[in-house]
């Protein structure tokens, strides 16, 4: 078999079903409206670890570069519009997977009809393919925009670092779902504050007591909370995984909010958002930036938001399809996880003729699985075959030697000290402790639980538009991306200084 010089794209906690869908989606023409009729035909996914053919990656980047040279902001605008319309559509349409309430009474035929969209992965998960194009675009634009800032800066004789200025400029524009959720919960807390006694009692009660209390004295608030949970529970779903938060987890958070002052907290958040906009406006005036550059910044901010929406869409789809896949599993005598390791056509056939894949094969796939496309369509491997493929395609990458300090791209500024926690894959997420510094090859939505605990984040890959950067901005966590070597150089327990105002990670003492 032909061997390709693969480049690593990232590690996801991806079941076979998703890996297969993702590769299928990438095989389609990526950006037909932008005149790019090719897709990624050379892709490899092994146990969720994704590899691309660097030649195709460069081709896409060159295409973007050409379009930017030719059409500038106009190109950016059409790119964003295309992205946003497709993603929003997919987000809203995910409700079509909803099972009727009487799930036992529907026939297998009806289940097949519900599941059918999976046969056309692009319609289920267009963001899976689009997400990569945004990363490619960001790689193209980052140096260009930085150079532009450099130029403006010199003209105005300013001393500030360009990369810091860029981070300041690229604040989120719309409110991310995860922030929206917090603010809605805050609104409920605000309603509770209207009744000082209720507030006092909630603060002094355990979650189960709070539920009883609310049921008795403030049923409307309990109703609102239940509603809130229904609206936002999907945020806890990352891809296909993650358990849905219980009502008591929301009650606990409500209690924490009530211990502070939700009324001032609400106004604080609003003012902060206002000041963020003012800061950007002031900064642009300070730089004496021409309108064209202001538009570019504006579009880039939009792009950040739509990338976040793409991850949300994947979570939403995972959340919405879970009951369907679970029900399919129930009928085939499989668990939810088992179903996630079947291919769409196998599921369709099984619903008609009974399980067509032996259970032993499903178990093998769960242990190891790989999907590969080298321009000839999708090949699926399981168990030992996947491992062989891995050895064949990816001879071990040599490790770089350690240094005391190294540099990366600033994604969110700030200086933090702390102990290193290396999370090479999502399997070790649980080791993350509150206040540690998260070091990993690259974050993705799977990492959210660890990110929430992290004091600072350092990644090997990515730039200013990568997942870590976007989430760091939303959650205000100092972050350095694209260090190339952090996760290999640093060791668990090392005490480091993450100076995300200079983009430098220094080891203070070794573990």
């Amino acid at each position: 078999m032909k061997r390709i010089q693969w480049t690593r794209y990232g590690k996801w906690h991806t079941p076979l079903l998703e890996a297969w869908m993702m590769l299928r989606a990438m095989d389609e023409p990526l950006l037909p409206i932008l005149g790019y009729s090719r897709g990624f035909t050379h892709v490899l996914s092994i146990d969720g670890e994704c590899y691309l053919d660097p030649i195709q990656w460069e081709q896409l980047k060159r295409h973007f570069h050409k379009l930017w040279k030719r059409r500038g902001n106009q190109f950016l605008r059409s790119f964003i519009e295309y992205n946003r319309s497709i993603t929003t559509q997919a987000f809203n349409r995910s409700s079509r997977f909803k099972l009727p309430d009487q799930r036992a009474s529907i026939t297998n035929k009806e289940l097949r009809a519900l599941f059918k969209p999976f046969m056309d992965p692009v319609s289920v998960m267009p963001p899976m393919a689009l997400n990569w194009t945004i990363t490619a675009l960001a790689e193209v634009l980052q140096p260009i925009v930085l150079e532009h800032i450099d130029m403006l800066k010199t003209r105005r004789r300013l001393r500030e670092r360009s990369d810091l200025l860029l981070v300041e400029l690229l604040q989120p524009r719309t409110t991310a779902h995860l922030i929206q959720e917090e603010e809605q919960l805050l609104a409920i807390a605000n309603i509770v504050t209207l009744d000082p006694n209720l507030r006092r009692r909630i603060i002094n009660s355990s979650p189960s007591d709070i539920a009883v209390l609310l049921k008795r004295y403030a049923p409307t608030i309990l109703l609102r909370l239940a509603n809130h949970r229904r609206t936002y529970a999907w945020l806890a779903v990352i891809d296909w995984w993650g358990s849905l938060p219980s009502l008591s987890s929301y009650l606990r958070r409500l209690r924490e909010m009530l211990k502070g002052n939700p009324r001032t907290e609400r106004i604080k958040r609003q003012t902060e958002r206002r000041q963020r906009e003012l800061r950007i406006r002031r900064l642009l005036a300070h730089l004496d930036a021409p309108p064209r550059f202001r538009h570019t910044i504006d579009y880039l901010r939009n792009l950040l938001d739509s990338k976040l929406l793409q991850w949300d869409t994947v979570s939403m789809t995972g959340y919405r399809t879970r009951p369907l896949l679970t029900e399919i599993g129930r009928r085939l005598g499989l668990s939810y996880e088992d179903v996630l390791h079947l291919l769409p056509k196998e599921i369709m056939r099984s619903l008609k003729e009974g399980l067509v894949v032996p259970k032993s094969e499903v178990a093998r796939r769960i242990r190891n699985h790989a999907v590969m496309n080298i321009g000839t369509g999708l090949l699926v491997f399981s168990g030992r075959n996947a491992i062989t493929l891995y050895r064949q395609q990816l001879p071990s990458i040599s490790r770089q030697s350690g240094t005391a300090g190294f540099k990366g791209t600033i994604a969110y500024p700030g200086i933090m000290h702390g102990r290193v926690r290396i999370i090479p894959t999502v399997e070790s997420l649980r080791k993350m402790r509150e206040g540690e510094i998260l070091v990993c090859p690259m974050t993705n939505p799977d990492y959210m639980p660890a990110i929430r605990k992290a004091k600072a984040i350092v990644t090997d890959e990515g730039g200013i538009l990568c997942h870590a950067a976007i989430v760091a901005r939303e959650l205000k966590i100092p972050t350095i991306t694209g260090t190339k070597i952090a996760s290999q150089t640093l060791k668990n327990g090392d005490y480091v200084e993450v100076d995300a105002t200079a983009g430098i990670v220094r080891r203070v003492s070794s573990a």
């Binding site: 000082p196 006694n197 002052n261």
Partner: protein
């Protein structure tokens, strides 16, 4: 014997007859802070009611039987006690006086009022009763007397009975006054913090405003306008106007609903510079009256005679954590 007092006849020393809520409304009115108009049915009216109907003995007997650890017994007692009060008729002179006061304050219009219980007790324990009793919003004249009786009987809700045992208040005398106050149909409403919650600057206040009723701000349904005003010279430091699509209004039959904001007003600034200064001055006055930073809910709506519109202070509380 007097059963009713207007807000301006009360002060903070009148907690014993008008309850905590009634006394503080009186206090604000005396200090020249405009609150929505209304009056207080004093605790003496409730006591007179109990005497006249001979309920006091019966109530005592039922309360004695309550074992507060047993929720069922609390609930059974509550139903019994409240039924007794609801079924007894209100002494005629009290009823007449309440309706007369309503007509005097609100004229003959169909003003909806809020009917709120205001517990009266020893000074030390009155605060702990705040919010334990019931309130009825949007009450028309026709339901006024019934709601007053309900406020009286809310001294015996399961929650209140349980509370009085839990806090060992069942030995000390407790009674209830009833505050009757106009529900302002605000055109604009909002919140004012007399300290900037973000910069913690004591020379700045933050005012938020929305079209319609203020509930939309607290409930997070609408992003309000935000104004930052300097407290010394009332210069306006920052104006942030937010588009508003929907506003909450009161239905004439009671209850609230969301309606679209008139197209012309959606993008417009909600309070003018002149009004802003007036409101800021009002809020500053409240702060200096209480000697503490305040979190104030205000409304801009028609006056009692409905001829003009003015600012009302709906609620003011100290900001304890910044």
């Amino acid at each position: 014997m007097e059963f009713i007092k207007a807000f301006d006849q009360l002060s903070k020393r009148d907690v014993r007859i008008a309850g905590g809520k009634g006394a503080s409304l009186g206090e604000m009115t005396q200090a020249g802070i405009r609150v929505p108009p209304g009056f207080v049915v004093l605790a003496s009216a409730f006591e007179r009611f109990l005497e006249e109907t001979d309920l006091d003995v019966e109530l005592e007997a039922i309360l004695k039987k309550v074992r507060h650890k047993d929720l069922d017994s609390v609930e059974r007692a509550s139903v019994e006690l409240r039924d007794l009060i609801h079924n007894a008729s209100m002494p005629k002179d009290i009823a007449v006086e309440i309706l007369k006061s309503y007509d005097r304050v609100f004229g003959k219009q169909k003003t909806l009022v809020a009917v709120r219980s205001s517990a009266t007790a020893e000074d030390s324990s009155v605060a702990s009763w705040a919010g334990e009793l019931e309130s009825y919003l949007e009450t028309p004249r026709g339901k006024l007397l019934e709601r007053v009786k309900r406020c009286w009987s809310s001294l015996f809700t399961p929650r209140a009975i349980f509370y009085r045992f839990e806090k060992k208040l069942h030995k000390s005398p407790v009674s209830v006054a009833v505050v009757i106050q106009q529900m302002v149909e605000s055109q604009i409403a909002g919140v004012c913090f007399t300290v900037h919650p973000v910069t913690k600057d004591r020379n700045q206040m933050v005012i938020e405003a929305v079209w319609g009723l203020g509930e939309t701000i607290v409930g997070g349904m609408v992003t309000p306008d935000t104004y930052v005003v300097h407290k010394k010279d009332f210069s306006i430091l920052d104006v942030n106007i937010n588009r508003q699509e929907n506003m909450m209004v009161r239905k004439s039959a009671g209850g609230t609903h969301l309606v679209p904001v008139a197209k012309l007003r959606r993008e417009r600034q909600k309070i003018s510079g002149k009004q802003l200064v007036e409101l800021a001055a009002l809020c500053k006055k409240i702060e200096s009256h209480y000697h503490y930073p305040q979190d104030i809910e205000w409304a801009f709506g028609p006056s009692a005679n409905r001829k003009t519109s003015q600012f009302y202070i709906v609620q003011s509380r100290p900001i304890t954590t910044l």
